[in-house]
């Protein structure tokens, strides 16, 4: 028996937080992406040679979407579960007849919806700046949501683990953002010296960005199969960690 009402209640509650703060939820990621387009796409991009036959302005679109989706997923999901812990309102979830699985679906589902939604908005905005043709639109959408889910799981772990706002911010700033930036958001791995190409192979974000770019243009740093596989592996690892956290009550139940 699954407590569907609980999943729905958590999901709706989390989504209502988004609608209460439209500026923070939607406007700020869109504005920062527009700035990237202006700086990298228009100003610098005009002087860049096309990569794999794709204009630089178009080339960075998948990277920019991934940059936002990954960071927003982590931020949304970590805040979503950390805030009730911080306020103490988590008592209600702990006393409710819900399983950890249902809680994860509600929180991670809402966080992923938000960040995937922002990703779609950015995609729509990018059509205003560059001519774009998407080779595999269905795969692209699927990949977008899968990435949002996967990184929301990671954010959920972060939110469960964090003891204060400092810890909540330090992981995205010091780990997630650098990984995503260095994962080929703005360049192809081929453009790097060979040493750094090898280093990049250890960057999980690279596999995700490469796969997403393949859905757009049919070209990628690593094969799409490897990208899909790594996304599935990340999701499984994150889920296993969450399952372990709930099983032991770590930082939730004394």
């Amino acid at each position: 028996m699954i407590n569907f009402y609980a999943i729905k209640a958590i999901y709706r509650f989390e989504m209502s937080r988004t609608y209460r703060t439209p500026l923070q939820s939607f406007a700020s990621p869109v504005i920062s992406t527009v700035l990237y387009f202006v700086v990298f796409g228009s100003a610098i991009g005009n002087r860049m040679t096309p990569i794999d036959g794709i204009s630089y302005g178009a080339f960075i679109v998948p990277g920019l979407i991934m940059l936002t989706v990954m960071t927003q997923s982590v931020a949304n999901a970590s805040f979503g579960i950390y805030f009730p812990k911080f306020l103490g309102t988590i008592y209600e979830h702990l006393s409710a007849p819900i399983s950890s699985f249902e809680m994860v679906i509600g929180y991670v589902g809402a966080a992923a919806t938000k960040s995937a939604g922002v990703g779609c908005i950015i995609l729509a905005v990018s059509f205003l700046f560059v001519p774009l043709e998407i080779e595999h639109p269905l795969l692209m959408i699927g990949f977008l949501f899968a990435t949002a889910l996967c990184f929301s799981l990671l954010g959920f772990i972060l939110g469960l683990w964090a003891k204060d706002f400092e810890q909540l911010n330090v992981v995205p700033t010091l780990i997630i953002t650098p990984l995503v930036f260095l994962g080929g958001s703005f360049y192809s791995i081929d453009m790097l010296p060979s040493l750094w190409q090898t280093v990049s192979l250890f960057n999980p974000a690279m596999y995700v960005i490469s796969g997403f770019r393949w859905a757009f243009f049919g070209v990628s740093d690593v094969s799409i199969a490897i990208s899909l596989l790594s996304l599935a592996i990340f999701a499984m690892i994150f889920f296993a960690i969450i399952w372990r956290i709930f099983a032991t009550g770590y930082r939730l139940r004394q």
Binding site: A6, F13, R17, A96, P97, I98
Partner: protein
């Protein structure tokens, strides 16, 4: 009456080694109002937290209406509503939003009529669309109660319900608790306000240092342990207690205007006729006679001191 919550040999040891509950066993009866009475740190909140699922069990077993709180947690928790001690609420959420969340979390389909009735009953209906941060402390307390009752629980836990609450709200809450009892809800409240237990509880469980010292019907408890005091207001003040009264244990107080005599309600012979007889024999006039009963507070202090 049958037991609705059964706690057997419950032990709670926290990660830091602190032993909060020591092999505690107690039963709460269906439809009663029971007060868990004890000083701060006695283990009241630990006990409630375990039953409600906030804290893990170190050893022992708890069943709620026959459902094991660990094995059948869904069934057990569905029956329970919890009003926490602290005013823990999302400040930006509306009253309606947070109550709807609670109802959903407990697996209930939305029911506008029920929620409207509940909010009206708690004088919150007018505030249903207000963000919680705009509410007064008393209103927030009402919201917590509304959340706890949002799924119509059979058992309601109130953790220090009237701590820092004004007199009006306290009266309202006591009335609500009585009403809920009339509807068949079992109410378990923790308190260190003795008058609260005295006012609304049917039974009192005294808890100290992680153990139940006793569980007793409130009136039986007062009778069993209660001391009464006979107070005699004198027509003319005395300088000292006459010999015939002093030998009975009568004391003089209030600048010689009042005599007092303590007696135990448990003993068969109160000694009152002897005192009144001695008054007459000594020829002492008095204007009024009345008695005072020791409060639960006195009883409690005595109990804790005994251990």
């Amino acid at each position: 009456m049958s037991a609705v919550v059964q706690i057997k040999n419950l032990t709670k040891r926290y990660g830091d080694g602190k032993l909060a509950l020591k092999d505690l066993s107690v039963e709460f009866m269906r439809g009663e109002i029971i007060a868990l009475l004890g000083p701060n740190g006695a283990g009241k909140t630990s006990l409630i937290s375990i039953i409600c699922g906030l804290t893990t069990i170190s050893d022992g077993r708890v069943t709620v209406d026959g459902f094991d709180i660990q094995l059948d947690y869904r069934e057990a928790r569905s029956l329970i509503g919890l009003v926490p001690q602290e005013l823990t609420l999302e400040p930006f959420e509306t009253v309606m939003g947070t109550v709807s969340l609670s109802r959903g979390l407990f697996g209930q389909a939305p029911n506008n009529d029920y929620v409207e009735g509940l909010l009206s009953r708690l004088s919150l209906w007018e505030k249903r669309d207000s963000p919680i941060r705009e509410l007064s402390g008393g209103m927030k307390r009402r919201v917590l109660i509304a959340k706890a009752l949002s799924h119509a629980p059979k058992i309601l836990f109130l953790d220090e319900p009237t701590a820092g609450v004004d007199v009006d709200l306290r009266r309202d809450m006591w009335r609500l608790v009585k009403d809920l009892q009339a509807e068949g809800v079992t109410v378990i409240l923790t308190t260190h306000y003795i008058e609260e237990a005295e006012e609304i509880a049917d039974r009192v469980a005294v808890i100290n240092e992680g153990q139940i010292l006793l569980v007793e019907d409130k009136h039986v408890l007062m009778n069993r342990l209660g001391k009464k005091e006979l107070l005699i207001e004198l027509s003319d003040s005395l300088i000292e207690v006459p010999q015939g009264l002093a030998s009975l244990g009568v004391r003089l107080q209030n600048d010689g205007r009042q005599l007092s005599y303590s007696y135990d309600m448990a003993t068969e012979k109160s000694g009152i006729p002897e005192v009144l007889g001695a008054l007459k024999a000594e020829g002492i006039g008095f204007s009024d006679v009345h008695t005072e009963q020791s409060s639960l507070e006195d009883i409690f202090i005595e109990l804790v001191a005994e251990r």
